[in-house]
Amino acid sequence: MRKRLNKWTALVTVGAMTMTLLSGCQKAASTDGTGQTSKAEETTQTTAQTTTAEEKKDTADAGSTPRNETLYFNGQQWGTINDWNPLSSNSNNAMAITQQDNARTIVYETLFMYNMLDGKLYGLLGKDYSWNDGQTELTITINPDAKWSDQTPVTAQDVAYTFDCHKKYATAQGSDYSNYIDTVEAKDDHTVIFKAKLDDKGLPVNPLKVVEYVPKIYVMQKAYLQKVEQRNGNDADKIKQDRMDDFVASGPYKSYYNDDQKVVFVRDDNYWGKALWGKLPAPKYITHVIYENNAAGDTAFKSGEVDVSQQFITNVQKLWEEDGLPISTYIDEAPYGVCATMPTAFFNVEKPGLDRKEVRKAIAMAVDYDQIIASAMSNQSPSFKDVPRSIMNPTSGEQALVNQDALKDYQFTGNDVEGAKALLDKAGIVDKDGDGIREIDGKNLTFKAECPDGWTDWNASLEIVAAAGSKIGIGIETYFPDANTFYDDMTTRKFDICMWNPPAASVANPWGRAMAFMSTDYAGLKVNWTGNYGGYINEDANNLLKKIPLETNKDTLKEYYTELSRIYLDEVPSFSLMYRPMLFHAVNESVWTGFPQLDDGDNIPPTDCTDGYGIAALYNLVNVK
């Protein structure tokens, strides 16, 4: 009797568990049971619910803010923030400090904002800029309205002193730009002059790098910098490690709350930019919850807890096509975003085997790029058949600078296993010992292809590269170490094949990208964070790279870039695996709407409402009613 009872209990338990499991797998039932509730009403309901939930939490949870006044992000900040210091080289405060070609200007501000859609600079702290004739002096006038958060005006002295500090304390930015910018001088309170460094002939070393500084490097307050210098006794290392918790900045947001769970910024209602933009940015708070991993971030994004997602989402279109969520991307169809960069596999050309261009080209020819784009990137990239290879990204501005007809003979679109085999056979690189792997001087051609662990789409791409290797008799093993090990391998050339992003859209590109692919200068660096990680050296290419920054004639530039692309495709020091957006930009319109869209006429780039000119989007947002 008892045994039977036991059996029944077991059966019931198993049954119950299965049912729970299955009900968990069910899709969320649609709420419009009555059939007439509109989507807008639904979303208000959810907003109302989340708001009340949020309010309830308020008492218990520090740093909570009302849902309908807060814009939530994911995919930018992955750990507790360590400082507010733009001079630091290991700041992880991604939302506040991201000094790149499209700098993030919600806390600190740059002189100008770069817009990758039209390639122009838009004024922020700066108002106008102009070159003198020889491109030796760049004059910038400061916006007279600009003020620091302590209400003192932003002056030309601040701009000059910021550069001086970068140079004096040899920050990462300072050591780079001091090669191209000699001095930054304040002519008067509102005019600042960038003097380019000159070479022996009296020509500027590189005017492009001077302009590049402008939308990239934050302006800091002179008085505050002096305070920091004083409290650290002018010690460079200490200054670079100062947490700067009491920072003074000029941007629309300031620090509100942060811990290991999230970072919250609050709008500065006295922000000077009201004069520039005509109003304040819409969200009162900006919050980035620190998620454990992509999956956690995705789940939050889908449920409407995150408004702007900077994460790669597999088959993002399914979210609206199948799940009917109020989620959209900048473009409604593939590739869903503006691809401005191209993750690239760099060959270490010092490795025996990879020093032969036939081997490099054969690997590049055999890889199935369509498969990478369709599966690893789930079609969020145009194919190399639509946008043939060159050193350009797929934006129309850059494509106009290359003559694709001249590159036809050098193109490869991938999955050409026979062609790759023939190339290797012709070069006498064959498999003599019959183990399926070709040899050079009796040594098997086996290489490691690496990228950081957990970068899903990159991991999958390298697996596809490895699969191509095995088809043409070259052993390629994938290796996914943690990010820090990878950085070490990449910057000190301890890799065979490594994957990294060349510079995306910037005022100095495509020149900067061409440098990252082929610059001899970079090849010689001991610790190389800048580009040409594989150490490729080509004098012809290097000469062209030196000529480009001084050239202003578009036709000549096109000629130079075409020749560079030809060398690049012929020699294959590295090869791009896909095109990719600089930032992923998907938005959930449960709470906020008015995000930039293709063809909305606003010319705001999809840079997560924070980067470069993309910050203009913050002023257009409205609550969903």
Binding site: G35, A374, E463, I464, A466, E477, E589, T593
Partner: protein
């Protein structure tokens, strides 16, 4: 012996376990004979294609059509516009065209669509509507336009020389093809994975690999465990102390951590199926040693063993003929458990990316790993991971069932 086997198969638990296990084994043997495709071939260009039959469109177009009078455009509308979509349309018309809900009848798709066609304009401002919704309506409009098309689809041909396009064939909307007439097709019973590989084919190959790893790991672990246990238990003394010391040492170190460390240090290329199996085997022998040893200790002073000793039999012979047969049933059960845990260990290892290389072999853990990284579990692509979980569950369930069944027969305490 015969009697014993009969006895074993009288145990319902053992029989069920055995049948499941044998079925899996048969599957791995016979499936590759029928479906000869390479399990690692990336067939589908894209991730997670749904399960189903895929037929070639270009062949379908060129196949002789059958005319079926099924598809008048109004019934097409009725069939293809879901209630949800009709509600949304009614909503839009109500909100932006000022048509009261009384004038509309959502059960009449034709009427609704004609109202829609009259009033909808994707360029209109649609104030208060979020972008995602605007895009939804413009997609819906596109769908309706497609459904309304009554004209034939034209198939054009390009002249190689002149580049001119001429009509090759017209396809009326009443044309149907019989799926059997289309030669080029591929059935994905369980869809495809993130690399576009056929999940079922891959799964069968993975089960085979996992079983192989389990067997090898189990055999190695059992062999090491058994020999050390026998020696330690029978000889006793300082040798016993020494072996026990080593065993305890390995018991204290969590074997999974050891497994991770070794796997990590030998690198991915060296980590083939064989190597992974050996590593697992080498890290999981300890408890077999301990239990065999204690069994042998209780056996070694039995009369028949002493008798053998007095008769001058060699150590090897005593262990082989007087001790081993008494613990054989136990060893078999231990082997079964070791196999099961070996398979699980491989799955765990591959899950964290320390298994064999993705491009060389498919294993259950690797399949789980990629399905997880491509968030199949979040996107509802169940076919990429659920069958894998079921397979792992079935394998270890069947093995454990067999083990329990054997236990009931051989363990006198459990005998009914």
């Amino acid at each position: 012996m015969k009697n014993q086997i009969r006895q074993i198969f009288h145990s319902p638990k053992f029989t069920v376990g055995f049948i499941i296990f044998a079925a899996l084994l048969v599957l791995t043997v016979f499936y590759p004979l029928i479906v000869t495709n390479d399990p690692l071939e990336m067939v589908g260009q894209g991730n997670f294609f749904k399960p189903g039959t895929y037929i070639s469109v270009s062949e379908a177009v060129n196949t002789n059509p059958y005319t079926l009078n099924l598809n008048a455009s109004s019934s097409r509308l009725e069939q293809n516009l879901s209630m949800e979509e009709r509600m949304a349309m009614a909503d839009w018309l109500n909100q932006f065209a000022g048509i009261s809900s009384k004038e509309m009848d959502v059960t009449d798709a034709g009427g609704l669509v004609s109202l829609w066609k009259d009033h909808y304009d994707s360029a209109s401002e649609q104030k208060g509507l979020i972008a995602a919704r605007k895009k939804y309506f413009s997609r819906l409009d596109k769908k309706i336009t497609g459904l309304l098309e009554d004209t034939d689809v034209l198939l054009a041909e390009k002249n190689q020389e002149t580049g001119e396009v001429s009509v090759k064939k017209t396809i009326p909307s009443t044309s149907y093809v019989n799926v059997k007439d289309v030669g080029s097709r591929r059935v994905f019973i369980l869809g495809t994975d993130n690399f576009g590989r056929d999940v079922l084919t891959e799964l069968v190959a993975a089960i085979k690999t996992s079983l192989k790893i389990g067997f090898i790991a189990g055999l190695i672990a059992t062999t090491i465990g058994l020999s050390l246990g026998l020696i330690a238990g029978y000889l006793g003394g300082i040798i016993d102390d020494f072996i026990l010391f080593i065993t305890n040492l390995f018991t204290v170190i969590p074997s999974f951590i050891l497994l991770i460390l070794i796997s990590y240090s030998i690198g991915k290329n060296a980590r083939g199926v064989m190597m992974v199996a050996i590593i697992i085997g080498l890290t999981s022998w300890t408890w077999t040693t301990r239990s065999v040893r204690s069994q042998v200790i209780s056996l070694r002073n039995r009369d028949h063993v002493n008798l053998s000793k007095l008769s001058g039999h060699s150590l090897f012979r005593i262990i082989l003929t007087d001790i081993l047969p008494y613990i054989a049933s136990y060893v078999v059960m231990a082997l079964i458990l070791q196999i099961s845990s070996g398979i699980l260990a491989e799955a765990q290892l591959s899950m964290i990316g320390l298994g064999p290389a993705t491009t060389t072999v498919s294993t259950l853990g690797l399949m789980m790993n990629w399905a997880m990284s491509y968030s199949a579990h979040l996107n509802g692509d169940w076919w990429a991971y659920f069958p894998v979980i079921i397979s792992i569950a079935l394998i270890s369930f069947s093995l454990n069932l067999m083990n329990t069944g054997l236990d009931q027969i051989f363990n006198p305490q459990l005998r009914e």
